[in-house]
Each structure stands twice: as structure tokens, then as C-alpha cells.
Symmetry: C2
Amino acid sequence: MSLTVVGSVAFDSVETPFDKRERMLGGAATHFALAASFFDEVHVVGVVGDDFTAEHEGVLTAHGIHIDDIEHVAGGKTFFWAGKYHDNMNSRDTLDTQLNVFETFAPKLSPSSQTSETVFLANIQPSLQLDVLDQCTNAKFVALDSMDLWINIAKDDLLKVLARVDCVILNDEEIEMLTGKPTSVSAAQALLDLGPSVVVAKQGKYGAGVITREGSFWLPAYPLHEVNDPTGAGDTFAGGFVGYLAAHPERPVTFEALRRAMAYGSAIASYNVEEFGTDRVSRLTGPEVVARVQELEKITRFDGATQVDLRR
Amino acid sequence: MSLTVVGSVAFDSVETPFDKRERMLGGAATHFALAASFFDEVHVVGVVGDDFTAEHEGVLTAHGIHIDDIEHVAGGKTFFWAGKYHDNMNSRDTLDTQLNVFETFAPKLSPSSQTSETVFLANIQPSLQLDVLDQCTNAKFVALDSMDLWINIAKDDLLKVLARVDCVILNDEEIEMLTGKPTSVSAAQALLDLGPSVVVAKQGKYGAGVITREGSFWLPAYPLHEVNDPTGAGDTFAGGFVGYLAAHPERPVTFEALRRAMAYGSAIASYNVEEFGTDRVSRLTGPEVVARVQELEKITRFDGATQVDLRR
């Protein structure tokens, strides 16, 4: 089995109320791949420039992540993003975006990336997501991310992609915006009518829910004493979530697998935000992930069965 | 056993993107009492004007709620609030606030209200909360709500109340503002150092967490297809939460009781927002509450124990 992710590899400069870092390795595909590498062989399809060095490659290859399909554009510069987080760390301003080589990114999947049965289309132009889908002849489970920009300027293409994927992973505000429905539940149900069988509504620092035609499951975020860099949390969550499903190939996916995938995605994402960039997840170990999943279960479980004497 | 709540009885005019209602019975003490009446005898201490009629009294007395300590000010008008919800229903603008008789509210507890072992200080001026505490000679468990206004203009008094209560129930943003800490966990821990042994961080439409020195428990909000009026959701939650604890008088409160109190508070609050004002909770039945608690358990439970084969 293997898992292919198509998306951005980038450098991020991040400022928070407490600290700042310059030009860290980042990008959706990077964060996704590091999280997914706990579960499966991961192929990254992306594009970088001359400033992407052997040291950066090493962050990925150290975890067995395949980088053959990361195209190097000679003379080009890698996608760069700079942002500043507000006091509550749940919202941010973009200070700078330099698409650079990412502007003309045309994903080309090598035969080995094409063999993957699981594919994650990170947040890129919907027309490119469609191109990738045409190349993924072996895909059995495809998940998609997107953003408000594409909902606004490329909704038709986005709807075409939606009709061809199994799973949508978006922020709750994005699914509400995309469907024009006022709640996550009504928006998710509208999305299920458009093609996907699984909808994940991410809720930022609060957690996430997964909704299928069978029901829903909701998981609070792991409570942290300190958050140092939320960048990439959503992609890290997606990496754990989709990675778990890639490694548990019963299809259609079972609701039980979805619940556990949510817990693993959430656990790894909670580590991601503890430190800047990829620092924490790069050195994260399996036992640490398992420990946090168990902790998540402990702090969310209650006994709803015991009879309570009500006066009404 | 009995439970006393001190706070606002009001009329609310509410506008949402979908509908509007004029001068509905509302106020923190009203919503709290209706929810708490599932668990215990409730005494409401408040103040109203001539516009508060037998019909309004009936909404409370129909559920055995004691209203002897709701003072009627002859020639006065009841506290009035008007607000308009934004598209996502999680934020709102206040259109009008007329304190009326509430402006000179001086809570006076009759002997029967004073016998309560459980007390909820709804969101009123901290100096009044202190007055009430002096009158509650029999209190074994006191919980408190407040708001950003008091944190800004009466923080010293608020800290004095905090030092004397067992439980604080605030929005996550409020506990962060009150303590100057950036996360719910760090803010709650700072609050635990100020006196209370239980901190509840409400997260609006996302759910809530309870934090003690023993640990924490986090519960997502019950997912609704439709939300029609979020007004009073926090007070309804508090009513279910504190009401449950009042009816389970083991002191100090056990963590097990806190988890279940969270579930009952959350379940009743989810009904509250389904319809305008007190409409839904007024006719809510015990079996409906129990069913939603069980549903909440079902949609939040996962198996974190099963061994997963990780590659790292």
C-alpha cells in the first residue's frame, strides 16, 4: 500500500505574540506527509526551487517519505508564505505570499506515485486537482482539501472535483460557505449529496467532526497548555487521518476506522502546534502518538448510561 | 436539597438571519432555572417590573420553580435586551439594553432561598455577587458566571468573589482575558490558583471543557441541523450542569459527577437553541434529555485502546 499527496512544499515565516521564525520548511504536502508517514509509505508530488536543499529533503526522507515527484525548477524559488498570529492563535494575517515556482505547478505523477490506492489532494487550484485525479488510475480512496479562495473564484471546478472524491476535509466555515448552509451538520449533509461519502469539518483549536450518511463523530482538540505555532495543524491532522485510513484498507471505510483516524489525526496535530514548523512532528515517535490518542479517549469519555433521576 | 440562582429575569428581542421575535421571556436566571428544574427545587432571586405578568410567572412555576424572591417593582419595567445574530450564529450585536429595574437590583434572599446548599451567581455586578455570598450561609457549592464588562471595570471585586466560590463557568475567551493566559488550559490553571476547584470553559457552538486539579474533560456540542436562537444557551448549560451537581451532593464533587453534569448541561442547552427563547426547554421532557445525553455519548466515544501498527 502507499499514499500520494499532491500539494505545496513551502517556506514559512511565522510570527506569534510570543516568538518568530524565518523560512522554516512547511507547506501542506510537507505537514501532511510527516504525519501520514506514521502509517504508510508516502509519495509527495510538489515543486520547489533552488533554495530547497538536501537538508530540507532530509526532513522528509528521514521518515521514508518518497520525494522523487518533488520537481526541482532550476533557477526558481520555492513558494514562500509569511504570517502573523493574533493573540488567541486561532486567526492570523497573511503578511506575504510569493507563489514563485508554485504559480506554474503542473503536478506530474510518476508510475510509483500513480500506484497509490489512497490520494490526498491538498489545497491547490481545483483544475489541478482534476488533472491529478485523471492520473490516479489506481486510487480507491481520495480525500480533498480546499480553501475560501477557490470557493469564491473556482467553485464550478471545485464542484467537479467534489463529485469525484470520497472524502472532503475542510474548516467548518468553509463547508458552510461552500454549501450556503448555516450549520456544520446541514452543510455536511449538502456535501454528501454532491458525491463524497465522508465529510470532515475542522473547527480550528476546538476539534473536528466527521459526518457520513451513517452518522457523525465529534472529537475535541487535545487541550494544550501552550500553543507555539498553529501553522500546518490542519494538514497534519489530514495526514494522520488519511494516513490511518490508507493503512486500514477496508473499503468502503468503516465508521469505526473513521473514529480512530480522527483520533490519530488529532493527536499528531496537537503535537504539531507545540513547536514551530515541523520541529515537533519531525522527531515525534509512535509511542508518543499512541499515548496522546489514549489520553484523548480518557478526557472525552463519559458514562451516559447510568440512570439519573429527573424531576420532569 | 435545593438550588438558588441569582440573576437577571428579562425580556429579549432577538433577530437571526432567518427570523425574529419580540419581547420573549428570557434572562440568565430564567434560562438557568428552567434547565436546573430537571434536577432540583430551584429558587430564583431577581427583579421585574409591572410588565412581568402571571403568564410569565407561569413559565417558571409550571416546573415547580420558586419565584417568591423575584421582587416586583411597582411602576418599574423589566430588564430588556435586543440583539441580532450574525450569519454563523456564534456572534451577535447588541441592539438595545434597557436595564430598567435591574439597574438598582439589590438581591434579597428569603430564608427559604438561603437554605440552599447550591448557589449559582449568574452574570451580575461582582459586588452584588459578594452581597449574595454573605447571605448564603448554608451554601456548600457555589458557581459563578461573569462577563468581559466586569473583567474590565470591576476586576478587583470579581477576584474577591472568585476566591470564595467553588466553580467558575465562563467562555474560554473570558477566562483567557481574566487571567492573561493564552490557552484555556493555562487560563483554567491560573483560575484554580485563585480559589475555585472547578473551572468550566464554554466554547460557544463548539462545546465546553471542565478543568480541575485532577484533570480535564472535554465535550463537543451536540451537532444540530438547525439553530434558531442561541440566546440563553450558556445559562441553560449552566442550569443543567449546576442542577446535576446540586442533585448529586457528594462533596467535594467527584470528577465522575462533573463529566455527567457537563453532558446534561450540554444536552439541555442543545435543545434550548433549537427554538426561540424558552419555547423548547419549557416543554422539554426528562426522557428527551436522557436520549440526547446518550446520543452525545455515542457520537463522542471511540476506542483508543486497540493497538495500531505504526511505522515510526
